[in-house]
Symmetry: C2
Subunit: 443 residues, 2 copies
């Protein structure tokens, strides 16, 4: 039902569902939603105290109700917000990222409230935001404002997943991110391309800047000092990485490629996923894009770029390094490719630091156990390759560490057309969350 809500309708629905479940905790529980902020999608909060174990541990569930844009919508087999069920899958934008995971958590709490007469093995809190996909720009302020209310012992995160052999992967970290837009401005209007002999082309300038930033062969970022704060893995982390499952062939088949970048394989591929920074171009926009051709020098060229960061890399400092790189690239001769007459500007779109929960955190074992009991098998990932605001919880909520566990899998096409969630995994993930609540209640 949640899937069929595109746009803002989803906010009210999330509030309703969260409240409905938590209100059943009656007087011992509390149900609250923050006053809706008009200027951004509201952050939804809910909590329920354990009657039998009120001084026990507290879990904070983190989820988000916002989704990626549904475009290219013509590649969807159905309406992107249909919630259509076909076989073992339910389709819709946000099915796996992150509406499906949110539902498993609500249902797990509901299970206890119904089964144990409105009680819960431990205290639970919910925070459901609406800006995860655009880098959670208001979450940090929210955490600062409500840090006492949000106090908890562990944060159970989205973005754990099921690997290609149906094993649960419990992930302990997230990469950071820096999103920028590069704008190159050339002539004041699109001009006839016969002038190309005299006029620097913004699209070529943009290509040169991109080439100067990253080696395609190695994936290495060529911006000065980019890796300055990056630390190597600990011995324990290296061991955990070696034990991670990663079915390379299955992954390649799923996304339709033959070889990984730089022919990475085995332990190299695993290490890269966990701990290598990236430079990714997510969009190029310049000049004419219609059928056939139009002989112009485009007036502008734009690239959307996201850099994944690892712990200790500060997005603001990295952005400054990028700006220095661009300034040098334009002003100085370097490798025989200097000085375009075009104006290049880098625009900061979003930045989040990365974070990793230590392997010896006391909540890791109960979560891994719960996952193992539900999905038969479970492994630990030192860090996922994706990004989220995990660091802010650590920074603000008295060093609360986060653990990612969930039921979505790579074949669910998160962020892509025809996103879906396997229905049997929805059921298992709900059971897994219930077991976590149970085990944390015994700590």
């Amino acid at each position: 039902e949640l899937l069929s809500l595109g746009g803002s309708g989803v906010v009210e629905k999330v509030q309703l569902e969260t409240n409905k479940t938590l209100e059943q905790t009656s007087t011992t529980g509390q149900s609250k939603t923050t006053k809706p902020h008009l200027e951004f999608p509201p952050i939804v909060y809910g909590e329920a105290k354990s009657k039998s174990n009120p001084h026990g541990k507290t879990i904070l569930f983190y989820n988000h109700y916002d989704v990626q844009p549904e475009d290219p919508s013509e590649l969807w087999k159905d309406d992107p917000f249909s919630g259509r069920v076909e076989g073992n899958r339910i389709y819709g934008r946000g099915a796996s990222d992150d509406k499906g995971e949110l539902v498993t958590r609500i249902k797990a709490v509901e299970y206890f409230l119904q089964a144990t007469n409105g009680d819960l093995p431990c205290n639970v809190k919910f925070i459901v935001e609406g800006e995860e996909e655009i880098g959670s720009p208001h979450l940090r302020d929210y955490l600062l404002q409500y840090k006492d209310k949000l106090k908890c012992d562990v944060v159970i995160w989205e973005s754990g997943y099921i690997d290609s052999k149906s094993r649960s992967v419990v992930s302990l970290g997230q990469k950071g991110i820096l999103c920028v837009e590069l704008n190159v401005n050339g002539p004041s209007h699109d001009i006839h391309s016969s002038h190309a002999v005299l006029v620097d082309n913004p699209a070529i300038t943009l290509s040169k800047i991109i080439c100067s930033m990253v080696s395609q062969r190695t994936g290495k970022i060529l911006i000065e000092d980019w890796y300055r704060e990056v630390k190597g893995f600990s011995r324990r982390e290296l061991m955990a990485i070696a034990q991670e499952e990663f079915d390379e062939e299955d992954f390649k088949r799923e996304i339709g490629i033959k070889n990984f970048a730089n022919n990475k394989t085995g332990i190299d591929a695993k290490r890269a996923r966990v701990g290598y920074p990236t430079c990714n171009v997510s969009g190029l926009i310049s000049g004419y894009g219609g059928p056939g051709f139009k002989t112009i020098i485009p007036s502008t060229a734009t690239a959307k770029i996201d850099f994944r960061l690892v712990p200790e890399m500060d997005p603001n400092i990295q952005f400054q390094r990028l700006q220095n790189h661009i300034a040098k690239k334009i002003e100085l001769e370097k490798e025989g490719e200097p000085a375009s007459g075009n104006k290049v500007e880098a625009k900061f779109l979003n930045g989040e630091p990365g974070y990793r929960t230590p392997l010896d955190n006391p909540f890791v074992t109960p979560v891994v156990q719960a996952a193992k009991e539900t999905f038969n098998s479970s492994t630990i990932s030192v860090s996922g390759a994706g990004t989220g605001p995990m660091y802010y919880f650590y920074e603000i909520l008295e060093k609360a560490s986060s653990i990612c566990v969930g039921g979505s899998s790579i074949s669910d096409k998160a962020h892509s057309p025809n996103e879906n969630f396997k229905i049997d995994n929805l059921v298992k993930a709900t059971k897994c969350i219930a077991k976590i609540i149970e085990k944390v209640g015994k700590l």
Copy 2:
């Protein structure tokens, strides 16, 4: 009136106007239009024989009624097909390129027919095509089919122009062109950019290919053998180039740039315009182009590229060289940047060879004289920087040479929003064409 016709209506109008004028030549003249081809915009033909000088020289006027796409239409102050007059300018897509020039030729012929009782100083023929802006794909076949009918002594071309000091520039050549589309295919669908650590990014691959093809500093094309057939200028050509007027500051102001590429200036800038091949990116299309960001690895990346060619460069051979370059770039290690896992394809969109009429061609002097008498001053350009199908006329019509003369100027914004034509130059250009007809009648 012609300006207000968008789309196919323009074809009938051109036929009508051409016929109306030529039919007044009565029995001595002939008026014909080719049978409309259903599969492409028809080529319009008309002719009028001189009564008093039937065995004299024959001028073939070449023009086109098709135009560039009007987008970005939001940058037009008015409807792109309004034909609105404001002060000394008439606005509309095609005003200067090439509807305005076409009208001056029709009006000049009309002048003689009215002034001299249906006679003309020399024989005239008209050919008006509808596919110039997409590289005249059917013109060569048409010339081959009707080469006897089209027989002529000189072709008077579009794309002569008025420089920034109101002098007429008579141009004797056109560059060739090769238009291609580069398509890079990566993963089978847009995937989450957290996988960038393992998956080659098509937009980065595309940037690397572009960087490998052209030096932004020098504008030099780096594809092997690209310049193999390019000849230097003759001494006479060099002298003519040195005498060409080119107001660099005015040109820069007009298009809103501060410096020319590689800081070219003076004779270097002039030589480049006349005789240097170019590599121009007219469009980049990849991934997400909306507001904010979307963290994806795009499935595809496309570039639209046009290469201007000079005489002796064969578009088909150059395309083969481009393909070889791309194949090598992908397969081999080169400058430490090899082997992307992405598939790169070059698509041939259009190719036309370049051509230059020799400076000592006997029709050059009367045309330059006519231009001088009308616009007060006239200079010769060895070749324009733009492209047209001049070469095919030379190849097929018994080596008929072409001369470009016309009344449009750089400030008319050909190919750009708010294209226009100065009305006083329309009048002068009409007089100039009349004088050419008169002078050719005396040869």
